[in-house]
Amino acid sequence: MLRLLAAVLLVLDPGGPRGEGFQDDRTAGVKLENSDIVITGNGARGGTGDGYRIKRPCWYEPGPDGAQMAQTQELLRARWFSQNPRGTEAQFQEFLKQFKDKVGQEGRWWKPAYNNADPGGYACWGGLEPFVWVPPGTTPPAGITLEELVQIARAALTVPEPQIKLNPDAKSYVNLPTWVWIDGIGTTRRSVTASLPGVMSATVTAQLKDIEIKSGTTADRAEVKEDCGSSGRPYVRGGQFTCGVRYLRASIDQPRGVYVLTVNTVWPVEVDNDVVPFAYDPIEAGGTRDVPVGEVQSNVRG
């Protein structure tokens, strides 16, 4: 009821802000507008991207044929007059003529789309025409290409943020191996497919290959073991220490009394079937843990 009342008040109030509301959190990733492109795959859900941006964040996509477009535009008569408040019937018929002229011809109308997650996507879309007639077998300037479809899939690709596991967990000691591994990753292969149904499709895949460990201090204070495989080595009692950090000095003199250990996961990215020759930088995702390191105290009794 309150919502209805608010809606009525909004209708009654003239003036004020115009257009749809938006949250200005555009940085990267993919949020398609006016697009028929379908994004699928386990790499498109959850996780974090790496800020990869599509080179041109707007494009034309194939749309209806001549007959479909002419029919649609005739039905949108009321919309045309709302968008052309000074328009006359003769002008509307002139507008329709460009569509009627294409009925029966080979080709399609292409329409503009954009990536609304890109800071320049909305502006880019602003520079495109509302529709472009394209003969068969050709791509218009700014028409979507397979290369751009790969870029869209790449921009949508995310990897999970790793949970850093340590042993010992709460506090370590000088010369004691601190084992490092990661958890919460799930599958180590993440893919995204961007498809323009009936036209083309592209898939990119990231495979967790490596983790990188930074001790948070200089080499004379810590020794890093990096034979970690793809996700580190969970602690095994009596096992061989190959992945983690052995701190050689206590952290008491460090800011906040801790070393800040960093772990990055490294996910090389490939384009499936090499549909276009691309070499992407790996996606990296990581985190930090505070590691307090104490001296081992020993009492000698005489």
Binding site: P14, G15, P17, R18, G19, G21, R56, S82, Y122, G127
Partner: protein
């Protein structure tokens, strides 16, 4: 150009853009070369749209004036349309924005406004090819909605209570001018 002769521009140094307008601070309007390019320093302009309505515009230094005016001219012309019925604002819009601008003006149904609005934090958010996005904070808390008989309404619209962010996307037309193609807003964008 005529508007530029009518308006009063304040030459202001950095950090002075928020100063309220006083006539004694009036300075000469920008030279033609400045109009075409960018304002060299922040300036405050007051545009009178009638005896009871004006709009203050805080022009930032160094911004693309032609692009920003794509936004501000539509804003000013929209209020002119409300006050006088002049539909010149329709020359500054196209597509969905034309429908929205027209509905916005018609929404007043003959009612008028009184007071001063202010545009500040004008900025070109992106320019890509022949498209651009411009945003500004719109403060209409100094306006009051009047009835058709000219009396101030007891219940004022929500937009008189605080500033909001208004963004537009513009398209460069064949003559090199900019026309507004779409609107967006964020009610909390200027809080």
């Amino acid at each position: 150009m005529r508007r530029w002769l009518l308006v009063l521009l304040l030459a202001a140094g950095c950090g002075q853009a928020d100063k309220p307008y006083t006539p004694r601070q009036a300075a000469a309007p920008p030279a033609a070369s400045e109009e075409a390019g960018a304002t060299p320093t922040p300036t405050v302009e007051t545009v009178r749209l009638g005896p009871e309505l004006s709009v203050g515009i805080d022009w930032p230094a160094g911004a693309d004036l032609a692009l920003l005016k794509g936004f501000t001219d539509l804003y000013l012309d929209s209020w002119r349309a409300v006050q006088t019925g002049d539909d010149g604002y329709l020359d500054r819009v196209e597509g969905a924005a034309a429908a929205e601008a027209h509905a916005w003006v018609r929404g007043f149904r003959g009612a008028k406004v009184r007071g001063q609005a202010r545009l500040y934090a004008l900025n070109v958010r992106a320019v890509v090819g022949d498209g651009a996005e411009v945003g500004a904070c719109v403060d209409e808390s100094g306006l009051r909605l009047l009835s058709r008989t000219g009396r101030e309404l007891a219940r004022q619209p929500a937009w008189t209570r605080g500033p909001y962010l208004q963004a537009v996307v513009l398209r460069r037309d064949d003559d090199g001018g900019w026309r507004v193609k779409d609107f967006r807003h964020d009610l909390k964008g200027c809080a």
